[in-house]
Symmetry: D3
Subunit: 339 residues, 6 copies
Amino acid sequence: MAKFDLLSFGEVLLRLSPPENKRIVRSNVFETHVGGAELNVASGVSLLGLHTGMISKFPANAVGEFARSKVRALNVSDDYLVWDDSEDARLGVYYYESATFPRKPQVVYDRKHSSITRISIDEFPEEMYHSTRCFHVSGITMALCPETRACTMEMIRRFKEAGAMISFDVNFRLNLWSGAEAKECIEQILPYVDIFFCSEDTARLTFLKEGSLEEIMRSFTQEYPIQIVASTQRVVHSPKQHSFGSVIYEAKSDSFYREKPYEKIDVVDRIGSGDAYCGGMLYGLLSSDMDCAKALAFGNACSAIKNTIPGDLPCSDLREVSYVIADHNATGPTMEMNR
Amino acid sequence: MAKFDLLSFGEVLLRLSPPENKRIVRSNVFETHVGGAELNVASGVSLLGLHTGMISKFPANAVGEFARSKVRALNVSDDYLVWDDSEDARLGVYYYESATFPRKPQVVYDRKHSSITRISIDEFPEEMYHSTRCFHVSGITMALCPETRACTMEMIRRFKEAGAMISFDVNFRLNLWSGAEAKECIEQILPYVDIFFCSEDTARLTFLKEGSLEEIMRSFTQEYPIQIVASTQRVVHSPKQHSFGSVIYEAKSDSFYREKPYEKIDVVDRIGSGDAYCGGMLYGLLSSDMDCAKALAFGNACSAIKNTIPGDLPCSDLREVSYVIADHNATGPTMEMNR
Amino acid sequence: MAKFDLLSFGEVLLRLSPPENKRIVRSNVFETHVGGAELNVASGVSLLGLHTGMISKFPANAVGEFARSKVRALNVSDDYLVWDDSEDARLGVYYYESATFPRKPQVVYDRKHSSITRISIDEFPEEMYHSTRCFHVSGITMALCPETRACTMEMIRRFKEAGAMISFDVNFRLNLWSGAEAKECIEQILPYVDIFFCSEDTARLTFLKEGSLEEIMRSFTQEYPIQIVASTQRVVHSPKQHSFGSVIYEAKSDSFYREKPYEKIDVVDRIGSGDAYCGGMLYGLLSSDMDCAKALAFGNACSAIKNTIPGDLPCSDLREVSYVIADHNATGPTMEMNR
Amino acid sequence: MAKFDLLSFGEVLLRLSPPENKRIVRSNVFETHVGGAELNVASGVSLLGLHTGMISKFPANAVGEFARSKVRALNVSDDYLVWDDSEDARLGVYYYESATFPRKPQVVYDRKHSSITRISIDEFPEEMYHSTRCFHVSGITMALCPETRACTMEMIRRFKEAGAMISFDVNFRLNLWSGAEAKECIEQILPYVDIFFCSEDTARLTFLKEGSLEEIMRSFTQEYPIQIVASTQRVVHSPKQHSFGSVIYEAKSDSFYREKPYEKIDVVDRIGSGDAYCGGMLYGLLSSDMDCAKALAFGNACSAIKNTIPGDLPCSDLREVSYVIADHNATGPTMEMNR
Amino acid sequence: MAKFDLLSFGEVLLRLSPPENKRIVRSNVFETHVGGAELNVASGVSLLGLHTGMISKFPANAVGEFARSKVRALNVSDDYLVWDDSEDARLGVYYYESATFPRKPQVVYDRKHSSITRISIDEFPEEMYHSTRCFHVSGITMALCPETRACTMEMIRRFKEAGAMISFDVNFRLNLWSGAEAKECIEQILPYVDIFFCSEDTARLTFLKEGSLEEIMRSFTQEYPIQIVASTQRVVHSPKQHSFGSVIYEAKSDSFYREKPYEKIDVVDRIGSGDAYCGGMLYGLLSSDMDCAKALAFGNACSAIKNTIPGDLPCSDLREVSYVIADHNATGPTMEMNR
Amino acid sequence: MAKFDLLSFGEVLLRLSPPENKRIVRSNVFETHVGGAELNVASGVSLLGLHTGMISKFPANAVGEFARSKVRALNVSDDYLVWDDSEDARLGVYYYESATFPRKPQVVYDRKHSSITRISIDEFPEEMYHSTRCFHVSGITMALCPETRACTMEMIRRFKEAGAMISFDVNFRLNLWSGAEAKECIEQILPYVDIFFCSEDTARLTFLKEGSLEEIMRSFTQEYPIQIVASTQRVVHSPKQHSFGSVIYEAKSDSFYREKPYEKIDVVDRIGSGDAYCGGMLYGLLSSDMDCAKALAFGNACSAIKNTIPGDLPCSDLREVSYVIADHNATGPTMEMNR
């Protein structure tokens, strides 16, 4: 039996944010968070009760230790964190400022030259590839630099070979690479992917897909041996109010899974809510026999809940998510408070 | 003339809460509040200008002193606080975490074995029973333990005998006792009660009443020599938005008092808003010749306002509540700000 | 070419506010801000890229230095700040407490006897009057005391004589003077005014104007050589949600400028949003050839944005305001975040 | 039996301080404290277990209410607080900044025109003068303005006439009045004074006394019917380290009381430590049959302890002060911690 | 090879402390820490690089989860945490207030009835006893209640039987049990103990030892098969300045190990510094072939450093401790800063 | 007459620090400061009353704006700040953690690849070189990268040619370059330097000087046309207690200036105290006719005071520094507080 249910590979960033409603340009303190698309996913799965671990490279200094203790506190294993003790070692940073309408949240990235850009496939032991049921990575890791791209591709191959399921979230970011670059690169790894996260917009703009959302989702599974495609649907009414839902397509049954979206989410911190979807969705699959209905319910609920939590990382255990799912499906009155 | 307009008997708890929107499991600080159903009521009445006091038992340590200074700061007398200097002395604690939709607020209680469970009727002087116009207590005090239950019953008898009005709020809490226990116990004290607070749900589920709300309210006064029954009506649209109204029934005139509810209350902290209703309502009665219309206006306004105030305790003087009542009844434009 | 695009004359106050949602009567800390109608305007213009300066008198102590460093940080020149080293020197203070519905925000003023009340026209060099393209002042400065009133009138005369445009915002405050006083006093300076800010309510109640808003606005330019009249339109749905728009009338073209208002502004701090309008509007005029359409767009956007920013002072550069204007005029989907 | 053991008359100020080690000119928050020489004394006596009350005038606004709730939290009665609802009503403010060597702490006063300057003897009921065993006031109250000076003198006469002991602390402040003014004014009330606090420096510089400290102390009781003279002796090694002791002279026994000073006090906040001495010393006298040895022990301990407590006000109950006295007199090892 | 180097059994408490220099009775926030003698030891060993785990029982609620995430963040395994989902489940709490001279730090305990008092030996799997090289526990765990005492005794037996070294710290607390009780109970387990921590005072007062410290230490190893006895020597100059050293006695070589004490430690938070000694000392032994000189150096340094760190828990990795040891032994000038 | 008294060229960094006594690895907030050797010097000179400006390159984002507003708030001109709008634009960051004995303060640098490394001499107008009386730079700017080194050298030449005095502080940092590199590079610019700051250690270790300090200082002026050499003397008793003094040598009079050092400085934040020395010393020279005695007094006082102020930047105006100098030279008692 595998030691881990999920291993995830990606950069972990230090996020610095002024306290709520305050601004970067006037802030006398920054609240510290850690985050990163893949850590967000791994921690979501872990908080719900499965075993996960993070593959990454951290600077061998106090800032790296800060990040490590956050990873561990989340019950994510640090067995495959490697350490950069070069003089240039750094944890990538980003500054995030929330906003209310009509202003918009703002991100300032300072993630270039971080320790993960000095990562090499040789730093990881062969046994790692045999230690997990599922490997998850996102397009961001591939987009960071040639080193992380090469590592990602090689890890995908090795994990696949060792029998792990491969989960891939496109997570397209125009400030990291162009759509054409992303398409070319991702198409090389799609033959290995089992679970594929791709929004409708990205499918159209980056992969140049056409037709209905359903047609697009099905087409990915026709072109590649992808088992499951998931596509999230967020509506941003204002920075403080969103709606969230998703569609999941299962190839083997040729079925689409949907439920009514979460409406009027009171957003506290939107960052990481897409990753929380992946985390909930993967939990649903991995804690069952790949049950897409369970995956849908957990994905949507985890994402909706994440919007109410400060920081990049989810913070919900199985009981909390189950309560929210039950309320979402309830028809009568529900309790006002958990006590 | 009585020294106090109202004395209230109950437990005072230390509330520990993460700062707004933060979570207990990740919080590096807890904001400290004190609260408790009966203190919330007494302080509301006191802030509006009447003389009130608290009957309770506190641990004889720094945490007890912390609570005492809060009580005094609210203009509630500590003349009838008694002190527990046993080795086990403790102030009950509860952890409260707010939330936004779709999450729900959460309470973790740690109130067992607190100093009030070692209270005895013998600790209070006979003159106490002659010092007030009104005695208020809630079902929570009765539910805590046999000692507080016995004390409550005996105090009600003695205060009544000494000529005080008895006010009782059912405040049913399923985590403290069952509906059947509550019913049996409360029915023993209803023959002494003058003012009775009971929600429609509790009347139906706990007292097994049937019929319309009006019929239910009237029935209590038919079965017992209760003068006034009040029933609040809260609608929880989301953790951050409520509506609030109430109905008051006066037996002697067989009249129901209502007004349009407060709609779209922007909730900052919902805890204690029911108690704030009792406080405002009792202020209305005690500051007039038992004028139920005044009681209704103050009860509703005090509860609505409390939702906008952090902590369990109200924080509004007569001027502020009067302004809110005036605005609630205004038909034309009102000022945007008080300055 | 003038050294400054705008000089502004008025009092700068220290604002003390409990942290969000907390109350003055229970606050263990006050957040510090500086503000004042004219500084709010000058800083708004300055943040957008023009050169501005503040004319005022500050106490020669640490509190005055605190205020000065804030002025400078905003890129507003302190060349014409004069210092009060009398024993009574003080910076005016006001306490501001925000609120949510049904409570209202509250202001407690403590601004009497402040250093600006000891100001004299003789403290300013003649060259000051030749150093700017525009001079802005509001009715508040005139209302404070006889010394500031006399100074305002004389400065208006001298700046006008030196060729500067005169901008005047009525900013009527009933707690500083009566409508009749304001009318009499302001009518003495209207012959010098080029740009006139006056709300419809003030026009009717203070200047006793009648007819439609359009008729009222036009009438000012008929009675006085005023070039441009601006009138803001705020709707307060609740302390946390406003709408904002405005009308600008240009006399020479006999034209009215309007656009759709900003709806559902999520208000964080409403203080200074009227002044932010003046700042944005004056920026629009001064950065163009007195283009009223640009003034309208910047005035409305700056005011709407200010509501989302804690403190009295705006905090938006040209890029941020331009993005909000673009979004306001966009017809298709817009980005959720700036990154 | 008198209702109060001590009534005290004086101004209560709002103190605004940057957090420890921070500076006024750069502070984004101020911590709020209330203080004032006489309140500091009254609260010290009250915390030790006697009944005290404050005579003062507060603004009828939220800032006044803030101060009142602090007074009450300290167990000091607000029965003789009167309220200023004039438009100019204000609570005096002072800004205090701590420092470490070689910098010095800094105070910026903004206390002119405060509500207490509008006080009148007619605002207080005759029964007040019969309600206390002791009346305490300091020279600061006399120095503030003619109104408080007249009030002080008249109150001293009336309290004396009603049989109360009169306690007076010179508390000379050069920024409020000159030495000559102080001397002339204070000499008018010395015939009424029973307990007189005067430092050696003030005795020499203001009252022009000569000779040894002992001769000076004795001389006051020879010239006036003063019973007890107390003189504190502080050595300031650095802003963070003081020593403190005192001498008390009792006229009737012609005795001097001394003990070894508290050495190497680790100063957290020095403000109010002189007043804490008066409080402890008066407690010693009033809780015994005017026992000067007890007064000395409590005066010195209370002052030494106050230096370790943030804010102007003491925070020590009888148990804590007794422990410190016991330790001060202990010869063997003492406990490291109270638990 | 054992999975763990050290397993530790004991209670984990939530510590609530006012911010530095503030007081419990006036505190509007409490900083949250977790601690407990055994966790403090385990985390110290873990931070230095060995594998450790905690044996304890936590409430199955958000407060328990809070504690768990702290345990994990410290790199201490939660494999042997068991969960109490009873209605009474609670994490023990203590309130800690620091102080400066002449005040003393103060602790208020509220740890009765906590979840660990419902622990049973049956909740732990047999394999646990074979998973570690060393088992550590302190007298506090034995003193808490009969359940923890029985568990401790049985665990010691089983771990010993499985071949683990047994480390025991007397950690005598008079508020938990009497000296006689402690003596009787501890003497039952001393036959199993390999490493014994006992201060000179405790040896004399509790175990009624006489003679020199050296004689006392040796005598324990003569009466029981104890290998190593360690005795710490703390001098408390003031709450903010301590000195710290220790003596270690090794039975097999009949040798005493000492070094010059750490003088003039600037104490930030003294809590847990004794446990940090145990942690450093055990690290020294376990990371070497039971080298007492290394144990001495690490024990003393870890304890001295802990005093500079807020909270109960150590926070130093091998590099930091090694630097401090090097400095302690350095004869020439050392760097002012690590950069 | 020159527009500026001093222009300074160097990097400005964002400093992130856990609140006092807290640690980076556990910090949930970082306090934000800006600093940099040359900004520290320029702001010190500016706060004392002269006109200064900063030459640097900032990222064109919110973090750069944050830094700019701090520069301006300090009264340092931003006329010669240039902006980096490249995709890689970043402000250098460093993490600073204070400590108490026996721990040491710790710095983690993350300043590589910052915007200043993309600076070019061509970005600055020719008129800049004619706008100041003095140009100051430190070895740090030269050590950063080839671009800043080339810029520094060219600026020194151009400023010298335009008639400005050249001030140079070696400020040797082993983590930026080797001693040999530094020596070779600095010797190229010494022919242009008028005022030279070099510690005794650096003179010996980097410039390989021998002999007494006096001989070393004189030798620099013999080898190069240096007018004044200054050498600071810091003694670090513990992280919280330093002593500070300096020696200044004036070549033209062949005189050494000294005064008694500041002893027992209570250090709050040591960072920037060396730069504060340069700032005070340059103020002394530039505000007089190059009076070395004044320079010595201001240099020593400014450095001593800086140690008491949080952050890298000084915060003292002329009045404060003058008071500290007066106290330092006082022979009798001094005031305990400034009020």
